[in-house]
Symmetry: D2
């Protein structure tokens, strides 16, 4: 199984008055990690949307382990928990350079027709490029 | 048990290119609902922080039921799932004016000493004002 | 000339690690003030867009006078500096409850056809409802 | 005179329902460009803050030239218009890969003592590293 690594650092605008990253911003980081995975896999999300399919989040879970502040470098390890006909679940682990786990989480996405908002099949081409990231069944 | 109702409407800046509210913004709405509850209960979060306690989110779960777009009015019904020595769990149900459920979710918060970031007891005064919102055990 | 008053308070997610509202959020506040004006005037921006016209910002200026933190209540006084065939300029003054000026600014908007992104005339109906807010020429 | 180049691409969360980057996000991009400059120059902003000086924005101007959407790559060319005892002005030009100007702007920053919020001198060490980016007087 492949794992995707996305690297970035905390922007000032992502911190709040506690001095750390605001809890909502991790969903933005996970989105960046996820879209970086599909881009790296050769099928950017912009192309998916251009073909009339959107992948809104239907469920999200986050466990915040350790606060981090401005300018801290981090990486997110992304894998795919499962891939079904109309849905995909991603798992994320976010770590700092010294391997401290900052946050873990998951998002479930449903494939929808952009115009009708009806469920749609995950496009074959996307399914192919995502397959290597799917975790083995336990 | 009391329920707290927070009312607002979708800002343009909260939408994304799909035309609906971005998935990360619901955590901001839940935060508004939660802080509106403690403000209404007579103990604003700004005062909690001034007394040296912060309440960062340690866990969050969201189920996105229905996309909503710019300018849509909504309300969030907030209750408290439990209140322990150092943690509190809030439940949220977000609905539009026609009672459609848009999103449900929960957040768990740990009380921390602002300076040391060690666990702290939930302040008694806060505990008192939150008590009426605690759901009965099932 | 009419002035429009928009009232709100600072959300936690709008603060940054300095402890005050992040500089980019004032543009979100101005947007709220502006769309609240057109809503109050009887022609909500959602309707403008539904009729195929968008009003992106073409210029913005901000003068930050005084930092404000979480939960501070404020109001924004909005007027219209000018209204031309294809553009409108709004002026904003943001104040706290004790009449301290927090931030002043302006935004210029061009009317564009949503599909072609070509310049379009400001719709007559919008022009009518905005007229009372236009500042007299000096 | 040196110019600083910051490169990034548009995140999904930065777009709005018009399909393009929201007008407030350019101030976040400019902030990233500016802090990337001081980091590259050897004096990261996190260190400036740790030494008790903050640099809030006191003025900002933006001219939006061309809308850009999700995933578009861009670069921001940053220079310094002037550097005074207690203030610094940055100029920004944001371009896409085909050299189209997307947005231009400037921000003025005042050096403040973090605790008292009184004006402070721009620290000598920061002054030194910024000097090469100051535009020649015309």
């Amino acid at each position: 199984m492949k794992q995707h690594i996305y690297e970035s650092r905390v922007r000032y605008a992502e911190t709040d008055a506690m001095g750390f990253v605001h809890n909502s911003k991790y969903l933005v980081y996970f989105e960046e990690a996820r879209t970086d995975l599909v881009r790296a896999a050769g099928y950017p999300y912009s192309k998916v949307e251009a073909e009339g399919i959107i992948f809104p989040v239907s469920e999200a879970k986050l466990e915040y382990k350790k606060p981090i502040g401005y300018d801290v470098r981090f990486r997110i390890v992304t894998t795919i928990a499962y891939m079904r006909h109309v849905s995909v679940k991603f798992n994320y682990t976010m770590l700092t350079d010294d391997d401290t786990v900052v946050c873990t989480g998951s998002t479930v996405h449903a494939a929808l027709d952009r115009n009708t908002l009806d469920f749609a099949d995950v496009p074959d081409r996307l399914r192919e490029v995502l397959q290597p990231y799917v975790e083995p069944r336990r």
